[in-house]
Subunit: 237 residues, 2 copies
Amino acid sequence: MSQQDLYSIPIDDFFKSAFSVDCVIFGYDGKSLDVLLIKRGTEPFKDFWALPGDLVYPAEDLDVSANRVLHDLTSLDDIPVTQVHTFGKVNRHPLGRVITIAYTAIVEKSHLNPHPASWAEATEWHPVGDVPKLAFDHEEILGNALLHLKNLAKAEPLWANVLPKKFTLTQLQEFYEILFEKKFDKGNFRKKTRDMHFLQKLSELQKNVNHRPSALYEFDEQVYLEQKNVQDLLFDL
Amino acid sequence: MSQQDLYSIPIDDFFKSAFSVDCVIFGYDGKSLDVLLIKRGTEPFKDFWALPGDLVYPAEDLDVSANRVLHDLTSLDDIPVTQVHTFGKVNRHPLGRVITIAYTAIVEKSHLNPHPASWAEATEWHPVGDVPKLAFDHEEILGNALLHLKNLAKAEPLWANVLPKKFTLTQLQEFYEILFEKKFDKGNFRKKTRDMHFLQKLSELQKNVNHRPSALYEFDEQVYLEQKNVQDLLFDL
DNA sequence: AGGACTTATTGTAATAAATACAAAATCTAT
DNA sequence: ATAGATTTTGTATTTATTACAATAAGTCCT
């Protein structure tokens, strides 16, 4: 399309596009990392597995929309999502020009009970390493979101959303091991945690284990936020 | 809006939105970091400074659009841009629902000659620390893009787009110092560069300086890409 | 009660990276 | 030739990373 053509398109013709949000909800249960998929009960891609996503209302903010769509399809409420990337290939959606903004979150799988609603026929957790063929470009979106999640985890205590309120350092280590598919040395891992002052050691011990019980820890958000502020101020290369 | 309402909205009503791209083009000249702004010659926000941006054609991919828009408004060609973030507040655009996808790049200011075209009345470089009031939510977008740029620079040789083909290590250091607004130790900086094998030392020396001339270096992209591959394979926490 | 078992927790020695300086080298200009 | 400026290398100190060993503290079983 040349520059001339720009002026030959009536302004209203631009307002014939739509956008959607797609939610990449990762679930963690201490054992594996899964992603929440729905089975589409409507065309296009009827009966395909897909990320929960739908068109954004004309007067709806994007992040609000992500949560509303997630609620409508999976009955999950108030998941704090963060934006990942926008996908806009011209032919990615068969019904017309639809770009989609991907959002992601990581949640504690076992304490949630997603169930299908609206045009979703099913909701199901799938291990991130074993995902079926997906509708649209949702495989690309999922891959992108997983990368994003790993990067986030290097900078932020994502595990705070996902571990029990009181947890052991081993549980914390396992979170990283499962996310990064990599083992870490136990002693060295603990050494690193020593100067994370937002890890508050409790006097309480682990119960009902057939070996030496571990000390329990809590995440101290106050301390974390203060420390983060300092880091941001001193940020260096 | 409740779930019921979803089905009362005709599908066509969703296709009444538009999206735009906005380009945050940073310019570097060895002395300061600037951003390219245009003066808008059309409503809304006529006569305001703004990021170069415009509506995306109905059948145009987003990254293609970013370059086309940039060309139309500033006459710059073939700037490789990367996506930053999508901004979608309901009322961010007075003419209707328009979300915008922000793209960014960093270019060598002195070798480019942007000049206004289409509805742009002026193009001008502004130091990133001293930007006028901008149209729409462009100040937020600019801030976001600058953060993004700094993060990119920690992981990639952005300076390769910006330094002369043959450059000194001091020029390289100054790039980081200006971007991060922070001085580095000369000796230690050079030490770090020693195991960057993509920095190819030439036998040639700097000319026309009234002091000991520095050795010149070139960026060896081949070596860089190989090394990057290895890193990606071994990636660790 | 006592030993086997399992995991938690601390420690240590070796290596590598980051930091703060200082010294030496090499060009120009006078 | 010498002063001035900046490049370039070096060194000693501190701080982080790594690999591994030793000890501690519970449970389970006999």
